[in-house]
């Protein structure tokens, strides 16, 4: 049975309030999810008053500002700050996205920042993505081509190459998978949009020779068919990709591929 409520140890309490010390007139309240593994306490929401006059345009800049100037104990993942690495994926005001490319000017009212939904929290905004990456490994995301010699180039027509557009750009930030209610309830078995998009990327690659095996492997009621076209994945994807469509294409291939 699906558990809609949060378990007892995950219920969120009200946390600390950090008042602005700069005396700025341009203040925004930022509510951030906090949990410290060294205490046995429940997670809480800390509120920070942030001076927006001296803050660059993205949500990640706010987090950096909080960490540098207000509260150095805040923990979050970030690396490239240009929407390429996928580290700073988090839930920003009710929608998953990359903090580094989400402008805070597009958010009305207070800014709420949570970790990616329905993950075991490691600390503050850091969710545990081990399960997702294990599933990613299970689809064997590498080229399988036994007949060609390793030293030679495997040619691909422009048309075949174009099939990979919209699939190879994925940065595995997990915004889509953790936005999917189906993945929330069946994350242990359902592969989820991110991994299925990658499965599709290898299935349609003209250079790959194990297309049928790949299709057979993914053709499972729980692994694939838990997609109910809720489309939270597509609306969450910070790279503008369409995992839901890729899943539909896999379903179509399974009907037509005769395996």
């Amino acid at each position: 049975m699906v558990q809609l409520n949060l378990p007892e140890n995950s219920k969120i309490k009200k946390g600390k309030y950090y008042e602005d010390k700069t005396g700025s007139k341009n203040i925004r309240k930022v509510n951030v999810y906090r949990w410290n593994p060294s205490t046995k306490e429940n997670p809480s929401i800390d509120t920070y008053e942030v001076d927006m006059n001296n803050c660059p345009s993205k949500v990640l800049d706010i987090l950096n500002k909080i960490k540098n100037e207000i509260d150095p104990t805040l923990a979050y993942r970030r690396s490239c700050a240009h929407g390429v690495c996928g580290s700073c994926a988090m839930n920003i005001s009710g929608k998953n996205g990359l903090a580094c490319i989400t402008p805070h000017s597009e958010i009305d009212g207070d800014i709420d920042i949570y970790p990616l939904p329905h993950l075991k929290v490691k600390r503050d905004l850091i969710g545990d993505l081990d399960g997702l990456f294990k599933q990613y490994k299970s689809i064997e995301p590498w080229l399988k081509n036994a007949s060609k010699v390793e030293s030679s180039e495997i040619l691909q027509s422009k048309k075949d190459r174009a099939k990979l557009d919209g699939a190879y750009e994925c940065i595995m930030c997990a915004c889509c998978s953790t936005a999917c209610p189906s993945y929330w309830w069946n994350g242990d078995k359902y592969l989820g949009p991110a991994v299925l998009l990658q499965a599709y990327r290898w299935i349609i690659d003209s250079r790959d020779e194990e297309r049928k095996e790949r299709l057979k492997k993914v053709a499972d009621e729980l692994k694939l068919y838990r997609c109910h076209t809720i489309l939270n994945c597509t609306s969450a994807c910070p790279k503008g990709l369409n995992p839901a469509k890729a899943i539909a294409e896999i379903k179509k291939l399974l009907v037509t591929a005769n395996i």
Binding site: P181, N232, N242
Partner: protein, 127 residues
């Protein structure tokens, strides 16, 4: 070792979109329709038991609550049908673009109410 770390909030914080709303309503109306069909079967079986039972059931259906139930079921059938058509189109691989799915979702939501009104008018012999 069991992981006792807290679970990050999900349903509690995630914003609703048109497509997620249509998806959950599709399932919800599906469950309602399951019970609705039981009700219809019951109604039909009552005819076999004799006229008095049938008129008693009619009395229920003509009461305020009965009318509410019938209208509600008309809506849930309408919604299910429209949403299923949208789903069929998606199974063919179309309509996954964000704006398209938003528009088709809105058509399903508003269409279900329009269809309910049409059914009501047909039932009342207005059309």
């Amino acid at each position: 070792m069991e992981n006792n770390n807290p679970l990050s909030p999900h349903l509690q914080i995630y914003r609703w979109h048109i497509s997620s709303l249509v998806s959950i309503s599709h399932r919800f109306t599906g469950i309602i329709n399951f019970f609705a069909i039981i009700l219809i079967c019951l109604w039909v079986s009552l005819i076999f038991l004799g006229e008095s039972y049938y008129t008693f059931f009619n009395l229920f259906l003509n009461s305020f609550f009965g009318k509410f139930v019938v209208l509600g079921l008309s809506w849930s059938f309408s919604f299910q049908i429209l949403s299923e058509i949208r789903q069929l189109i998606m199974d063919l691989g179309y309509g996954f673009e964000l704006n398209t799915s938003k528009v088709t979702g809105l058509i399903v939501i508003f269409g279900s109410f329009i269809l309910t009104i049409l059914l009501y008018l047909v039932g009342k012999n207005f059309i």
